[in-house]
């Protein structure tokens, strides 16, 4: 891997939910993976996490209004 974009200061922290976390997340929001925002499987920011389609990526980023905010995206295979 030539360049890890995650080392860049502008890239927020990406992490993959474990199966248990994933199930709890979907139950909490009473939602189907299809209703989530999407992220491409070969997105440079998550390529090191080795995601599969249907995984959920947790993104923690700085927010002007709330300090840090959490966002979730479902991995799709372009």
């Amino acid at each position: 891997m030539a360049l890890d974009v995650n080392k860049h200061q502008l890239i927020p922290k990406h992490s993959k939910l474990t199966d248990a976390e994933r199930k709890k997340f979907l139950d909490d929001y009473k939602i189907d993976v299809k209703s989530l925002p999407k992220i491409l499987i070969d997105d440079a920011a998550i390529i090191t996490l080795k995601p599969k389609a249907g995984d959920i990526i947790k993104i923690e980023r700085k927010s002007e209004t709330a300090g840090t905010s959490v966002y979730y995206r479902a991995v799709i295979d372009g």
Binding site: L36, S63, S69
Partner: protein, 856 residues
């Protein structure tokens, strides 16, 4: 009421009528151009034949036996003497002629490739639409056509051309519609599938042999006052067609020379074409005798005034009104002044009960012409009856429980008030009606801001809700009081403006009143309990203002000039009431009052404060004059020196530039450096001069306005008293417009301040001609800029609001779209309802103080 669903529409087919279908569908065959006989009855076989439907009251339709309004109308037909091309199918016909063989009528694609291409065409048609399919067919056929031989029968092919609008040529020889039709007839069903035509369709139907006549109900004639009949445009056009058709028939039967028949045929083709579309670009449009263009079928449907955009997509409402708005600071914030003449047309239905029978009878007694009266009653069976002098007695007799009375609008009725563009929810608010004399809607100037209205000719709309549910909804959810706090930034969108701010500023700053004066002022703005007024002869303005505040209200904030405003238990202790506290979109004072005392109280208080300010100004007097712009001599000299110094500075920079001594700033060229530093030097001059001017013009009316934030800013004052300053176009000094200079008055390549738009005079002393011209340049630029920017940003906002229109915050704080997809996991990332915050933040300390109580 439930309605039985008899038939559900499963699908709709669009297609082309075959001649047989047209004849089967027709109720009558039209053979004569005459419309009526001598007695004025419709002629049988004429265009107004009563088999085609009825448009006269009392008559019965010969086809269905129903009366006017019941009979939907029936189609008829004419047999055309010679076939004519349907103008709307010219392109399709051309495509078919071009891509089929002249002799065997097969598609010009080799037999073994047809299947393959069919698949290709189907796929393209599905993915990219019909146009793409058409292009692809053209491309493929074009490839095989290069050989100029039919792949099926090996015969030579000719080039087919369209001479617009409807003549087909083959090798410069015209193909008559008869020949075209004959070719289309020969095309096989399988080959039609390639073009995407369905099996039930025959291409020769696109050449008309019979013409369908629309029912009279869609082209009714109108009877003029003189008793004369005026026919619809369509009837006129059809008359032309029938007339020419008859002549053509006669000539053919009489064996007239071919030339005459050709001419008549052409004319028939023209009439049939303009019947469908009178805006064909190559044809002169058919006109009335007066020269007015006929409105035929196509023009009925298309364009903004057509059936679709005007009648189907355009919607209009009853019980609404529109007129010019004007200000009335004496009505309440949540009221709207409605002209009496309007209130007698806008009605509210009120149901008769035992308790209001007498009350409603009074409206009926007044009738429709006397205010407050009533226009209609509605019986329990739903029938409405108009109240007139004749019916009045009878209605008064029969009026009983269960009836409805549509009475005139009276004070206190609920109305929705709206100004376009309705960009946010405050653009349509609920007001209480106040019937006033005059012809305009009146509104309190304090609510101009949410509507973005002014009184330079703005018009607004008023809607009257017609049932209890709608009225309750409007009043509870949309009343002005409930809309005071903006959901965008959590501050008040209404507030005192202009005189109201000035008045309160002067009152709290410098006025000391006699007790009688204070009582007069307060009574004027609706206070009648003076027990809180201090019992002394001279009363301070702050004390007068405090009477309006709630007794337990405490607040600490800042006024516009940075002094502390302190309110303890409803007493204004220090600070002035200016824009920062009373103004719209600023200050927490109104926000805190709203939070503590609720919408109705705030709206009432705001009204009182406004009236107080206006009353103060009216009694004290407040005038502005040119003398307000005078400066003492030494200040004038001081300003002159500052300008001189900056000019010298600028000139020395220019000298440095010419002698090559100027050092370029990093990342800029030498010329840019010069511009930047000169501009900086000159702007510094204006700022300094402005500050001095603002300080020196003590306590004139003009500076009072600026200080309290009612109108104007320090820059305006500085431009009037001290110096107008550098005029800039696109952030630069004014550049050369002629070669090398801004105006021919200056020498070429003059970089000095005065040659590049530096105005060192002020508006009071007057500008030199060249200065005035520079001012006009920037003025024009600013005007253009706003004129161009407004529609752009309006469109941007429209796109945004359309894209986000059905996003909503769910119970789990997620923002979701209409299909439940998550857009944001917590609303605004911080889950705050802005309208519940103060300027976007939650005042935690304040809340704690409130809970623990008082002391810090």
């Amino acid at each position: 009421m439930d309605r039985q669903v008899y038939k559900k529409i499963y699908h709709i087919d669009f297609g082309v009528f075959s001649p047989k279908q047209i004849m089967d569908l027709a109720a009558a065959k039209i053979v004569t151009p005459e419309l009526y006989d001598r007695e004025g009855y419709s002629v049988d076989g004429g265009l107004m034949d009563i088999r085609l439907g009825v448009i006269d009251p009392g008559l019965r339709c010969k086809t269905c036996g129903q009366k006017l309004k019941e009979c939907p109308g029936h189609f008829g037909y004419i047999e055309l003497a010679r076939p004519t091309v349907h103008i709307k199918f010219v392109r399709q016909i051309l495509d078919l002629l071009k891509s089929t063989c002249k002799y065997c009528a097969r598609v010009i694609i080799p037999e073994n490739n047809i299947k393959r291409y069919l698949g290709v065409f189907e796929k393209i048609g599905e993915e990219e639409g019909f146009e793409a399919r058409r292009r692809k067919i053209k491309e493929v056929v074009g490839k095989y056509k290069l050989k100029e031989k039919c792949p099926h029968c090996d015969k030579k092919q000719e080039k087919i051309k369209l001479d617009k609008p409807y003549n087909y040529y083959e090798n410069e020889i015209r193909l008559s519609p008869i020949e075209v039709r004959a070719r289309l007839e020969k095309i096989q069903e399988e080959d039609l599938a390639i073009f995407g035509y369905s099996k039930s369709f025959r291409p020769e139907w696109m050449i008309l042999t019979v013409l369908q006549i629309p029912p009279v109900t869609m082209r009714p004639s109108i009877t003029l006052e003189s008793g004369e009949r005026s026919e619809d445009d369509l009837t006129h056009k059809l008359g032309d067609i029938v007339r020419i058709n008859q002549r053509l028939f006669e000539n053919i039967n009489a064996g007239a020379p071919e030339v005459i028949i050709e001419d008549l045929w052409d004319l028939l083709q023209y009439h049939v074409t303009t019947f469908f579309d009178n805006e064909v670009s190559q044809l002169p449009p058919a006109r009335h005798r007066g020269g007015q263009v006929l409105k035929t079928l196509a023009s009925r449907i298309k364009s903004k005034e057509g059936r679709l955009r005007h009648n189907l997509a355009g919607k209009r409402t009853d019980f609404s009104a529109r007129t010019v708005i004007s200000p009335d600071p004496f009505i309440d914030l949540n009221e709207v002044g409605v002209p009496q003449s309007m209130s007698m047309n806008l009605t509210v239905p009120e149901r008769v009960t035992v308790w209001n029978l007498e009350y409603l009878k009074r409206f009926v007694q007044n009738g429709p012409k006397k205010y407050p009266g009533a226009n209609y009653i509605i019986k329990p069976d739903g029938k409405r009856k108009s109240i007139t002098v004749e019916t009045q007695e009878e209605i008064l007799e029969e009026l009983e429980e269960g009836y409805m009375v549509e009475r005139h609008l009276i004070d206190g009725d609920i109305a929705l008030f709206n100004r376009q563009p309705s960009l946010h929810r405050m653009s349509m608010m609920c007001h209480l009606v106040k019937v006033l004399p005059g012809k305009t809607f009146r509104l309190n100037p304090a609510v101009c801001n949410p509507y973005n209205a002014d009184f330079d000719g703005d018009e607004m709309n008023l809607h009257i809700p017609q049932n209890e549910e709608a009225r309750a909804e409007a009043r509870i959810l949309m009343l002005v009081d409930t809309q005071i706090i903006s959901p965008r930034y959590g501050l008040s969108v209404v507030g005192c403006i202009q005189d109201a701010i000035t008045g309160n500023y002067l009152l709290t700053k410098e006025l000391v009143l006699k007790r009688s004066e204070a009582i007069d002022l307060l009574y004027n703005c609706g206070v009648n309990n003076f027990s809180r007024l201090p019992n002394k002869e001279k009363i301070d303005g702050k004390e007068v203002f405090s009477i309006l505040l709630p007794e337990d209200f405490s607040y600490i904030g800042k006024d516009k000039s940075g002094n502390e405003v302190k309110i303890v238990n409803g007493q204004l202790k220090s600070g002035y009431m200016d824009k920062a506290n009373l103004g719209q979109e600023s200050g927490l004072m109104l926000r805190n009052i709203y939070e503590a005392y609720g919408p109705a109280y705030t709206s009432d208080l705001l009204g009182k404060i406004s009236k107080l300010g206006i009353a103060v100004l009216a009694r004290r007097g407040f005038s502005i004059g040119i003398g307000d712009m005078d400066l003492p001599l030494e200040t004038k000299n001081e300003i002159k020196n500052i300008i001189k110094k900056s000019e010298d500075e600028a000139n020395s920079i220019i000298d440095d530039y010419h002698s090559g001594k100027l050092e370029p700033l990093p990342g800029r060229t030498l010329a840019e450096t010069l511009e930047v530093s000169v501009l900086g030097a000159l702007n510094r001059a204006r700022n300094k001069a402005g500050d001095i001017a603002m300080k020196q013009v003590q306590n004139s009316a003009a500076t009072t306005l600026v200080r309290c934030g009612a109108r104007g800013n320090p820059l305006n004052i500085a431009q009037m008293t001290a110096i107008v300053g550098q005029q800039a176009l696109r952030g630069k000094r004014i550049d050369h417009g002629f070669t090398g200079r801004t105006l021919s008055y200056f020498s070429k390549n003059d970089l000095s301040p005065k040659a590049r738009g530096f105005v060192k005079n002020n508006f009071k002393s007057g500008l030199t001609p060249s200065e005035f011209f520079f001012g006009a340049m920037t003025g024009r630029d600013a005007l253009m800029d706003t004129a161009l920017r407004t529609p752009k940003s309006g469109y941007l906002y429209r796109r945004l609001s359309n894209a986000m229109q059905d996003l909503k915050v769910d119970y789990d704080d997620t923002v979701r779209d209409a299909s439940g997809k998550i857009i944001q996991f917590s609303y605004g990332e911080d889950c705050l309802d802005v309208s519940k915050t103060k300027n976007g933040v939650i005042d935690v300390t304040g809340i704690i103080h409130n809970v623990i109580g008082g002391g810090k």
